[in-house]
Amino acid sequence: MNAIIFSATWGIVMMFSGVFAKSKSTPRWLAIAGIVLLFIVNAIELNNGQPIFFIDAKDMVRINSFNLTFLAVVFGCTLLYFLLCGKDVEKVGEHVGEYFALIFFVLCGVTLVATYNTLLLLFIGIEILSIPLYILTGSDKRNLKSNEAALKYFLMGAFSTGIMLMGIAFIYGANPNASFFINNIDLGTGQLSVMMASGLVFLLISLSFKVSAAPFHFWTPDVYDGAPTVFTSFMATIVKVAAFFAFIRLFENAFGKVHAQWQTLIVVITVATLLIGNITAVFQQSVKRMLAYSSIAQAGFMLLALFALNDRAKEGLVLYSAAYSLATIGIFAILIKMSDYTVEGFNGLGKSQPVLGLTATIFLLSLTGIPLTAGFQSKFYMLLAAVENGHHFWIVIAAVLFAAISAYYYFRVLQAIWFKPVKENVIAAADLTKGFKILLILTAIFIIVLGIYPEILIQWLYH
């Protein structure tokens, strides 16, 4: 509840920070202060169960420890993102204050899609989340690729929102209760009515688009590749896991009772996503593009939560959000500092910059899912959830085989880091402050702590 208010307000504050601030770094510090504030406000609500301001939203939003924990993960990751990449946001263009303002509006959208209880608020949340992203994608105005990516993202995004609206309309029409509340949809008994089923499929398609699940993923590589790398990092992590959260929230609360009827659809989407994401990532030469495809592959794993739809899946999703976001933000933070985005750019990083090499190794191992990292625990919880579900055991086998393929492209970067001769002048050592390195080390340590003891996060779900 408080997070919605604070993120929106802080977005407005940030808008004006550019006007009044003299130094270029003021907006960044303001943004960091803002996200710390958001995190604290959210943590207080999670801890006490009481918001600071209470507003009667007529049950349009529902707050529980599950979505508050998720928001804590989101705000924590955004804080890390600001600290690691804040300076690079300043380098994108002139309008630093606006960039941060847009990010805060995205966060407002994230809080809405994490807490909504009506289809209308889902729609509004998705829009608030998407529109600033279209702008951020195109923020590198002189770069044609960035422009193209923004346009592509906007057109595709608008299209998918249209489909979502149509789905909502269908469901509203087919619902005898004539209600937008997701827990008040009368699905009837037995087979879904045609209108209800098509509404469900429309929602499934539009949300699959947002989480870049195959076959609705085609925008992802181009947009992630074209957007300024700092914003790719944000889109590929925080925004993506938020969309997942919206996805599972809708399908659990609204359509959980007819899980069996749409589970097969999810199976198809999951396997297709894993297949396309992993196989295509293998062939990428640019690490940025590889990470775009790997984000599709990781989405395939997160889809297992929708497939399973049990407690373990929800725990897994929160854990996955944290593990995936931390590691990806970390690896992007290192990538941004480089002038060469190909795998060769990483050559000899372990020797020229041992701290970066070592932390990148831990991030990559976590993304691969090696034990003792958060990435393993999250994948493990997802698989456990899928097995617990009891149907389609083969999907688990498919998922682990694709995870083995993912080792191929993550380890290619690892090999470059440790076993190839140093490539000079790829990284500007001046950019690497002590604080940056310490932060990377802390992130890596946190990933390992989470890998050893995931309950430090999971316990909050049941707080």
Binding site: I397, L401, F419
Partner: protein, 495 residues
Amino acid sequence: MGTFITFPELLMWLPLLAGIVCFFFKKGPAVKSFATAASLVVLAVSVTSLFYADAQFKSYNQVNYVWMKQIGNSLYLGLDSTGRLLTLLTAIAFPVIFIATQKNNYKNPGSFYGLMLLAQAGLMGVFVSMDALVFYFFWELALIPVYFLCSKWGGEKRIQSTFKFFVYTFAGSLLMLAGILYVYMHTPARAYDGGIAAHSFALQSFVNSSLTAPEQNWVFWLFFVAFAIKMPVFPFHTWQPDTYDQSPTSVTMVLSGVMVKMGLFGVIRWLLPVLPEASAHFANIVIILCIIGILYASCIAMVQDNIKKLVAYSSIAHIGLMCAALFSFNELSTQGALIQLFSHGINIIGMWIVVDILERQTGVKNISQLGGVAQKAPVLTIFLVIIALANIALPLTNAFVGEFMMFGGLFSVNPLYALAAGISIILAAVYTLKMIQKAFYGEVVPATSAIKDISFGEKAALFGLVAFIFLFGVMPQPMIDFTKDALKNILAVVQ
């Protein structure tokens, strides 16, 4: 309570901590001595644990901390008789390797020895874990240091071949993870203080899991493929010769002496007890695969010119025989396999030490480029001949005891199996003696003209191994007694 620290914990933590400390060393000689000392301490602990094997010392041999309680997982470590055998092998292997390769100078010695000790910690973890998830953890973690060791310090084509090895084993272990999860869903509930987990990862729960016969049959393959890749059993062996060839020899010793035993150990600890019916059901298929592997590897070894690949293929043959023996389910062959598990580790490390000395001094690994080593290095040659004879299981060597028992056991299952596998002994004699003859006798060639005989450290390491070979070749009874408990446990679950 009452026990401050237990043997399994010590065996796992000591190399882990020592390994981490190694990374901070800058100077080569210092880190060498430190790593050797650390591995000797681990050996001392392992030997001490032998005296505390009785039931009255139970509290020293197992420990159980609740870890992730909601999913019924705990850090459950224990040292039973099979575990004791393999931890002892691991504990012996590392100091021997360190002492024998004392002369090798590695770039970044701190990282090299650190990773070696981390690999030891991972291996120890595999052998002492009594919880399926912990087992899986260590199973993968043992692989990571070895991956870095091979890729960083190996031969020319190290990156590709190590990567092939990594992807193979990673895929295998992930399949095993799927299998573990499936068995886990069929385990009984388990209480912890403050609640009940619906299922449990503990070995006992796995053994008591309620899988139907058809379920067992396909879960069996999920586990078996992981173990078969590690051993390796035909047709999952293709990673092995390249990896052995390209790894630095001290890592090859770890791989072939200890790490492949992880696969056999997995069969003993997790496959046979958890899925007994399926194991019996597929025993014939597995044995036939093993025998194909034995013959195939022996034949290829005969035409190998590369000395490292020759030893690699001979190792495939030996491991295949052990795996076949384990699936024969009788007392004789199982005990033979247990003894051979240990003996093969000793012998193959001895082989590699000799190969390492040759490679370091001459810079070649092809048999055709060697010759007349015996004239230049008689002591080395004597050691090699003894170890090579043990490798082909000549009577009075330690390997004879194990192999004889395994053949006996196989014979009682099906004489044809014993016959087919028995051919491998003849083939082993052919390729081993041919190698000795060509590389060590004959005229001195330019590559070997500068060879010096072995140093004190190498002598000591090889002497220890050879003494072991003879001691247990002549007097196998202590080994037989030592493995009796393990044997009883295995047979109890299978029959």
